[in-house]
Amino acid sequence: MSGTNEPREPGGELDPILAADAASHPHHGQKFALRLWVYEKLGLVGRLTRRQIRFFLIMLGASWGVIFESFRTHSWRRTVRFEFGATLNSVVGGGMVATLFAGTLTGVAAVSQTIYWLGLAGMTKMTGTILVDVVIREIAPILVGMLLLGRNGMLSVTELGLLTTGGEIRSMQAQGLDPFLLLVMPRTLAFTVGGFTLGILFSFAALLTGYVISRISGVVTNPVWTFFYDVITAMSRADYLVIPLKFIAVGFVVGLGGCLTGLTATNEDNLRTLLPRGFSRGMLIVMAVSVLFSLDL
């Protein structure tokens, strides 16, 4: 054996003291090694589980925080009201044209086709029910959620992510400005109101366009009032609760998810990591809410 004077490489050999100890207690050493192995594996499982559900738990806690704080009058300071107004203006004002356009396209592609084929199959009476169940209850919340996510949710992810990694959030805390109260709460609530508003506008635009196309092509001869009356009477009592709730919930989770993804960014994050994470989380959240509200309802 050569090189006894060479420096030892870290980890290149066993610790002589522990090795001697293990040699003197062979059973104890085996037990110790087994226990260590079990602990390591348990730790790995725990770490993985925690990492996977961490964001979900943060979302749950922050959801409660937003709801709780929004009922406290002291939370609504003028800076918070300003942020709420600015975000609402951006969400509703900025997203209205895109939403109406998407609703119009849905009306052309889905509503008019539904009316046409149901008429051809002699199932005209089912038109209202199918439009409510498919277009308004299922398609509208998902498309509105995607529009909200793409237009404003990703903006929140980027904005808050860069503020967090840049240190501005810390500077705000040093001034006594709580980022949760000043940014997360008003933005989430603005998204909530925006989700409901845009959802209703989308549904209206889709139904109206579908009716107009069907009327022009001669499939429908009823006046527009009769058409809307048929749709409204096809709605069940639960629909009056579930549909608005779905729009509200989609807006809420997209807003909150975007803000939290930005605020939980670390120093290792940049736009290349933040944007895909924000988008995939947002899409998952929108789909999850949509599925959740469709269960047994």
Partner: protein
């Protein structure tokens, strides 16, 4: 939350900062700042100076000891109380502190608008007055990214002195600053001290504060061996 109006304004009582959270040496820091005092703290490292200012604001967790501001221990306060108390601190920092989604005038007045019920006109008038004092033509309304570094420095001075803060934590504002900022800065410090505010002026070298030498209450050095008081000749 009842604040103390007599006694030390800021008290570091054998406060051992968490090294993992701050990078500050994990040694007991002791210092008292009385109302009207102006303390110069020499710190060669800018990031260490920022962390020391964070420590004074209660943003750095402690291993031992306590940091008290206006008689209240930061560690014993709830979030709302912490934020309300931090609203009484004026701070100039080397850390990025201008959020891009707010225009400069809003970023300057944000702390006052958030923590007080002062009328908007009054807040804006004070900001404009301070802006003129520090050499700005008025209250800048452009986004911070469109202002020059010097104008941002002036805007930072305006923000720090807004609303008669009880404590001023100033991280080397005069370094690489235009000469015309010196007199307004020193007069603003003197005016704040006359009102009973305490000032911690963090500097990198001792050349910066020599012009205000007679007004300095004590000189400290922040280094690897902790916070040490230095005798001045």
């Amino acid at each position: 939350m009842e604040t103390r109006t007599v006694g030390p304004l800021l008290e570091l009582n054998k406060a051992v900062p968490s090294f993992e959270e701050s990078g500050l040496p994990p040694l007991p820091f002791s210092m008292k700042l009385m109302p009207g005092d102006c303390v110069v703290v020499e710190a060669r490292s800018a990031s260490r100076a920022t962390m020391f200012a964070d420590l004074c604001c209660g943003l750095v967790p402690l291993e031992e000891g306590a940091v008290k501001f206006m008689g209240l221990d930061w560690a014993e306060l709830h979030d709302r109380e912490l934020n309300a108390l931090r609203g009484r601190i004026g701070r100039m920092t080397r850390r990025p502190s201008w959020p891009e989604f707010l225009n400069t005038h809003l970023a300057i007045t944000l702390q006052q608008l958030h923590h007080t019920n002062r009328p908007l006109d009054e807040v804006v008038a004070e900001a404009a007055r301070l802006g003129e004092l520090f050499g700005l033509p008025g209250l800048p309304v452009l986004p911070p990214s469109r202002l020059s570094d010097v104008d941002l420095l002036r805007a930072g001075c305006v923000r720090a002195f807004m609303g008669r803060p009880r404590l001023l934590l100033l991280e080397d504002p005069l370094e690489a600053s235009p000469v015309d900022l010196l007199n307004p800065f020193l007069s603003a410090i003197t005016e704040a001290r006359d009102r009973g505010a305490g000032v911690i002026w963090l500097v990198r070298g001792n050349a910066v504060w020599q012009g205000y030498r007679q007004g300095i209450t004590s000189l400290w050095r922040l280094a690897d061996d902790g916070l040490v008081e230095v005798r001045t000749a």
